[in-house]
């Protein structure tokens, strides 16, 4: 992960000329990001107090992260959609169609049509491939309707919300399909974790990558004679990043697998569990998947032409067109990416439930849009960040889980989440007006 830029959205913002007056400028920290992290910490602390310390236990943090993954993966794609001044109301329904395709592939189509026996090692991968292809193609089709045939994306995807939700119903005849393949289920969260050793390996590799990234960026700036921040600021930032990554791994590694479950695992292998044996869950594969998606999407946003064109088109569509950018094709690409991400979310969501059900992903479109918007994506277009959307998803999930733990009724939970969404956007508008950013 790289350092945050000084402005919220502009991918190319790098060096700031002297004078560097404020501390936040010296560290090149994004004050908006700081505000969101502050809000996140506040939510955590308040619920931890209200639940007498039950909120910030390794177990709850583990659950919180795996519950966030599905919405967060889609939220990264929704950033691109909203940045280009579109909206996608069909993501929850599209997730259901992809989930249905993958469930049918592994339980019926592959075994019956191709004759692969249930449990064949190729099954989960062929199913996932088919799901991603389905999501990407449906997304591209919706992008074509919007970009080339000029039907507003709001309408295309509002229609899609009904079409894909019920296409999923027909694919499965309205039945719940399960249990899913055991390898496939490893993408769901608790059924697929890396264990202590590999979690540390991933944590250390990620930390080193972040530090090398910081160093490479600094060297690049010095080579071009751009101003760099003081060495102490660089080291502080590096220490914070390393602390957060390794701290997160340490927390996940301290969530012990229950003894009864370990016993079952040993029994399944025909062994006897040694006395005093213990093991921790560690990093869930689904969370690792989210991190990979986040890194790839951030690189696309900041370091590729596609990302640059997405932001340019969102900022000024006419300018983008006059610069020779094919904004119609761009719309197709953006919606195709969104569709493929819905499929990846569908893997996580159905694997977590261990089956495909008709109502999977219901209302996810609202959660995903809310996560992107709370994360600072402007509906007017041109502004948004991947990390913001993920943080937005985390804040929403923390609110919801926290309220559930405290015992708030479900209707009141929804009222609070809805109000927070509106309030977050109001704060964002005031912030942008004050700072003149965006």
């Amino acid at each position: 992960m790289s350092t945050q830029n000084t402005t919220t959205s502009t991918p190319a913002t790098k060096a700031r000329p002297a004078p560097r007056a404020k501390l936040t400028d010296t560290l090149e920290l994004d004050t908006r990001l700081m505000g969101m992290i502050g809000a996140f910490i506040l939510v955590m602390v308040v619920f931890n107090v209200l639940t007498d310390g039950r909120f910030l236990t390794p177990r709850n943090i583990f659950n919180l992260t795996i519950q966030t993954v599905s919405v967060a993966i889609m939220a990264t794609g929704m950033v691109f959609v909203i940045v280009t001044r579109h909206i996608d109301l069909s993501v929850g329904a599209l997730l259901a169609t992809c989930s249905a395709v993958m469930a049918m592939m592994q339980t019926a189509w592959l075994p019956q049509l191709l004759g692969l026996p249930l449990g064949h090692p190729l099954i989960p991968w062929l199913a996932i491939g088919a799901g991603i292809l389905t999501g990407g193609l449906i997304g591209a089709f919706q992008g074509y309707l919007s970009g080339y045939l000029m039907i507003p994306a709001f309408i295309v995807t509002l229609g899609g919300l009904l079409v894909w939700r019920n296409t999923a119903w027909y694919l499965t005849n309205g039945q719940t399909i399960g249990p899913l393949d055991s390898t496939f289920q490893m993408f769901g969260g608790i059924n697929g974790t890396l264990g202590e050793f590999w979690s540390w390996v991933i944590g250390i590799v990620a930390t080193l990558a972040a530090l090398v990234g910081l160093w490479a960026k600094r060297r690049d700036k010095t080579r071009h004679d751009f101003p760099v921040k003081p060495m102490w600021a660089e080291i502080t930032l590096g220490a914070i990043i390393a602390g957060v990554i390794l701290g997160f791994i340490a927390v996940l590694n301290s969530y012990q697998i229950p003894v009864a479950r370990l016993n079952r695992q040993f029994e399944a292998r025909g062994e006897v569990m040694p006395e005093g044996y213990s093991a921790a869950y560690g990093l869930p594969i689904s969370v690792l998947l989210l991190i990979v998606v986040a890194v790839v999407m951030t690189v696309v946003a900041r370091k590729t032409r596609l990302g640059r064109y997405i932001f340019a088109t969102g900022g000024n569509p006419q300018a983008a067109e006059l610069s020779g950018i094919n904004t119609r094709l761009l719309t197709v690409k953006v919606f195709a990416i969104m569709g493929a991400l819905c499929a990846i979310s569908a893997v996580v969501a159905s694997a977590r439930l261990t089956n495909h059900s008709n109502d999977i992903g219901t209302l996810d479109e609202l959660r995903v849009i809310a996560a992107a918007v709370i994360g600072g994506t402007a509906l007017a277009g041109g502004i948004g960040t991947i990390y913001g959307a993920i943080l937005g998803a985390l804040i929403m999930q923390s609110l919801q889980s926290g309220m559930a733990m405290v015992g708030v009724d479900a209707p009141l939970q929804n009222i609070v989440v809805g109000s927070v969404l509106v309030l977050a956007v109001l704060i964002d508008i005031i912030y942008r007006r004050r700072t003149g950013k965006g």
Partner: protein
Amino acid sequence: MQPLVEMRNISIAFGGVQAVDDVSIDLYPGEVVGLLGHNGAGKSTLIKILSGAYRADSGEILIDGEKVTIASPRDARAHNIETIHQTLALADNLPAPANLFLGRELRTMFGFLDDSRMESETRKIMARLNPNFKKVADPVSALSGGQRQSVAIARAVYFNARILIMDEPTAALGVHETKMVADLIMELKAQGLGIFLISHDTREMMALCDRVSVMKNGQLIGTERVEDVTEDDILSMIIMGKKAEKAA
């Protein structure tokens, strides 16, 4: 001498309105040709056909004497035609380097955007065009009209335009900035570029242009060398829509 650009018998209609009606103009290297006329006279439309934003219904475009097809802004750029649009065509949310290289980004050997090199190239060219320009990293929405204009001009100059189209380049600028743009036009002309200039300011046009073409209701009223006419002659062409009687 071979004209750099010839637009012959260009016509275009939008839903029954003949925006440009059988207009022919040309441009030589090192020459500034002004286009004058009321709002809606067809100047911007004519020029957008050359820059690839619109396609003419009929007529042909020749560059260096050869017939070319300009179907998109990309085609225009391939013929070294650069346009500074009236609305500046900048993405306000992006900083100057991203705008300067929009559609033609510099990339590293791995295919990723080379932001450092784009920023350093931007600093170099801005140092030449507008030494006061410092906000290289800020979104261009934070810049003044003159600074934004210099980003738009830098975009044309950086990519070695041979044919430059400037649509109201000084409309939003202060006195000092207008002078800066005028000096720049003279410098580019001296380098041998051909420039089409659109403006409402007749006096400015008389000072900057070699020839002026006057349009009214989509038709070309006439093209005159500035030394052959007075400002009043031009004004009467714009208003009356016919050529002034030349004093013999």
